[in-house]
Amino acid sequence: MKNIERLVHHVLLWGLALSAALLLGGLIVWAFRGGELPTTITMPPASFADLARAQPIGFFSTGLFVLVLTPFARVAGSIVLFAKAGDRRYTAITAVVLLVMVAGLLLGRV
């Protein structure tokens, strides 16, 4: 059980570190390349295309998207934790919460 808690801890930590690194990287690239910044970030796959072209907005969009994903990791980890503990009721409740979260994510793409 403790192992999964450690895993959740590490996923959160590395997720936030990756997000912060992308945001800081974006600032550095922006400082060197300059130029107008779009007034809104994009969702994947558009943000990945910008990132591949080393555009500052690609860094910002991807960094903020990674940040948005961190609560998903936390909830998904809890599902595994409850399932392993044999707690069917809370495995189901948490799975429904995750489903709603995923639905919200997909809603933003249309």
Binding site: L23, L105, V110
Partner: protein, 266 residues
């Protein structure tokens, strides 16, 4: 401007993670009042800020085992159902009535959190969702159970409904409901509320991004500042005496209530 937002975000992150509230009620007014930024951009930035507050603080709270994940998920489900209901019925209700209702809820929360009655009530296992954590401030293991689970679920439904209609996160209501009604120790209620607001914000984040609410010029310094502030806030909160947190909480809730009341009359 970048630096100003960053510094505001550090403070909002620290405050938000210490009290288990989103900090939207701190970030939005500051960003809109002091910087010439449209409301929708401020909301977009504060959604990002809430997620950053939640995840950064959860690293600390998961580590200390203070978050009651089961309770959080049960209440989250009720809140979500309420929020969806709220979104569906939004056109039928007067916003001012809701704002007044929300202000009253916040005044009630502040009033019930104050004083010794809540402080003296012992936290004991009840057989319902019993949990325990080690309080780093006193180095004692706190064991507790949940009281009035159905009532708590009902109130979460209502809070989700109202906050869905008003576009506010609802951490300021979830926290007092858990602590005052359900008998959850203050620190566990803060950590659990902190967990829930991140889930709520992450659920709606993609929609806000899709609508073009998230301006990188505002959201990036917000995210970076909050990540820094929330780490410190969460570490500080688990070490502070409960009494100090309670006082801060009452003051903050009162300010929010007045803010909401102001919106009603303005």
């Amino acid at each position: 401007m970048f630096l100003l937002i960053f510094l505001t975000a550090v403070v909002a992150g620290a405050f938000g993670s210490m009290l288990g509230i989103g900090g939207a009620l701190i970030l939005v007014p500051v960003i809109t009042l002091f910087l010439d930024v449209p409301m929708k951009v401020a909301i977009g930035a504060s959604i990002i800020g809430v997620i950053a507050t939640s995840s950064a603080a959860q690293i600390v709270y998961v580590d200390h085992g203070i978050t009651h994940t089961r309770l959080g998920m049960a209440l989250e489900l009720a809140t979500t159902v309420g929020a969806i209901g709220g979104a569906l019925t939004a056109a039928m209700v007067d916003v001012r009535v809701l704002q007044l209702l929300f202000a009253i809820m916040l005044f009630w929360a502040a009033w019930s959190m104050r004083g010794r009655r809540a402080a003296r009530r012992p936290s004991i296992p009840t057989g319902v969702l019993d949990d325990q954590f080690l309080d780093p401030a006193t180095q004692t293991v706190v064991r507790y159970g949940v009281r009035h689970l159905p009532l708590g679920l009902g109130l979460s439904l209502l809070a989700g409904n109202v906050s869905g209609l008003l576009g506010v996160g609802g951490g300021a209501v979830k926290m007092p409901v858990m602590h005052v009604i359900m008998g959850v120790p203050l620190k566990a209620a803060i950590a659990t509320s902190n967990f829930m607001i991140g889930v709520t914000a992450a659920t709606s984040a993609a929609v806000y991004i899709g609508k073009g609410f998230v301006d990188p010029l505002i959201a990036v310094p917000t995210a970076l500042g909050v990540l820094l502030g929330a780490q410190g806030g969460a570490r500080l909160a688990s070490r502070l005496p409960t009494r100090v947190l309670r006082t801060l909480m009452v003051l903050t809730l009162t300010v929010f209530a007045i803010q909401m009341l102001w919106r009603t009359v303005a």
